[in-house]
């Protein structure tokens, strides 16, 4: 049997499917359209809320560092928090623009690549937004106390930074330890349950598209 022989089977299958009512009677239902829209809604709303937090944060932190521009530590704390908030806005806007550009009527390879890149960007962006919080508690404390903590309990700020550095190093070290070849199974399990697994799977699918194009 050759590929062309399968055409006969395909035509038979086509005729049978056309006669089947189970799938065909209500192919298009309004309720389903709403459900499809809801599918993307959490992502769109999530990004919108993130951008709103960024805007509110900017309105809070910008006047702070402007008012303390002659006090280096307060200026630095305010600037760090302001830049983080701008990052939230920019990342949210980039994601919103990418979601809006998705057009399922575009060629298959282009859209599949676009969807996978969107997924990878979303996961990496989530890490870039989440990991800085190992350190951001320190400048946030400085801003919230209007610098009083630097006078009254400076060790609390340095302590936060030290804990953050240890936490970040420990996170990196643990990921490295778990992904050593002889612990591949553990690494895979941890990766599957965390963002690393999502990035890996999105990248693998992107590689699959690239291979399909080159083959």
């Amino acid at each position: 049997m050759e590929l062309d022989d399968l055409k006969l089977a395909w035509q038979t299958l086509d005729r049978r499917l056309q006669q089947q009512n189970a799938l065909g009677l209500q192919l298009f239902r309004d309720g389903r359209v709403d459900k499809a829209r809801r599918g993307l809604r959490p992502l769109v709303w999530g990004q919108a809320i993130q951008m709103l937090i960024g805007v509110l944060g900017s309105f809070w932190f910008a006047p702070f560092w402007v008012a303390h521009r002659h006090e280096p530590w307060l200026l630095l704390a305010g600037l760090v928090m302001h830049v983080y908030c701008l990052g939230l806005i920019v990342f949210g806007a980039v994601m919103q623009a990418r979601i809006a550009r998705i057009d399922y009527a575009a060629p298959v390879l282009a859209i599949q690549r676009q969807l996978l890149t969107l997924r990878r960007t979303y996961v990496i962006g989530g890490l870039l937004i989440g990991l800085p919080w190992w350190f951001l508690t320190a400048p946030l404390l400085v801003v919230l106390t209007r610098g009083l903590i630097l006078d009254n309990a400076p060790s609390a700020v340095w302590g936060q930074l030290v804990v953050g550095a240890i936490g970040l190093l420990a996170t990196g070290g643990f990921v490295r330890w778990a992904n050593q070849p002889h612990r591949a199974a553990l690494g895979r399990k941890l990766g599957d349950g965390a963002a690393g697994g999502s990035i890996h799977r999105a990248q693998a699918a992107l590689d699959e598209i690239a291979r399909f194009e080159k083959e």
Binding site: L17, Q20, G24, R32, A105, P107, V108, I111, L115, L116
Partner: protein, 172 residues
């Protein structure tokens, strides 16, 4: 407002007529990418819903079937990938998948052909499945290239390789 509503209603009617005329595309793609009846139904409705969402951008000077194939394959591939990425129940076809319409009245020979077809589909990755569906549906190289976003030469090469691969599989 009334005019806008009428426009939407007439657009919906036009869409439903076209969808009904090309329902074979939706059903074949859903059957190619999903094993279970429930998944097939979900996928078929997801394809129809996404097609309706994109319908305003359809240029009626262009082929509806090419447009529909792009949407159906894009939604189906994303559906399978999403199931894989979230470790959901298996949506790709297995070799022993539920085969539609294999009733007692069907001839044994044809049923064997359909089983062989399903076995071939099950062994292909989502992108090669798309290529196989379009080839089996007698789409020209130009149409396949337009739907997948490849060059015609590349399509010809891939079909040649697919023929060899399937011939080897069927010979196993």
């Amino acid at each position: 407002m009334v005019q806008a509503r009428m426009t939407t209603d007439s657009l919906r009617a036009q869409f439903q007529t076209l969808l009904e005329r090309h329902r074979g595309i939706v059903l074949k793609v859903a059957n190619t990418y999903c094993r279970h009846v429930e998944d097939r139904r979900d996928l078929a409705q997801e394809i129809s819903a996404q097609a309706w969402k994109a319908f305003r951008s359809w240029d009626d000077g262009r082929s509806f079937s090419t447009w529909m194939y792009r949407i159906a394959l894009n939604v189906a591939i994303s559906f399978v990938r999403s199931a894989r990425m979230h470790d959901r129940h298996s949506t790709p076809l297995d070799e022993a998948g539920d085969e539609p319409g294999l009733d007692d009245e069907a001839s044994r020979e044809t049923d064997d052909g359909i089983r062989a077809l399903y076995r071939c589909i099950a062994r292909l990755d989502p992108l090669n499945r798309a290529l196989l569906v379009l080839y089996l549906d007698d789409k020209s190289h130009r149409e396949i290239a337009e739907i997948l976003g490849l060059s015609e030469t590349n399509v010809a090469t891939k079909i040649g390789r697919l023929k060899i691969r399937i011939s080897n599989q069927l010979g196993d």
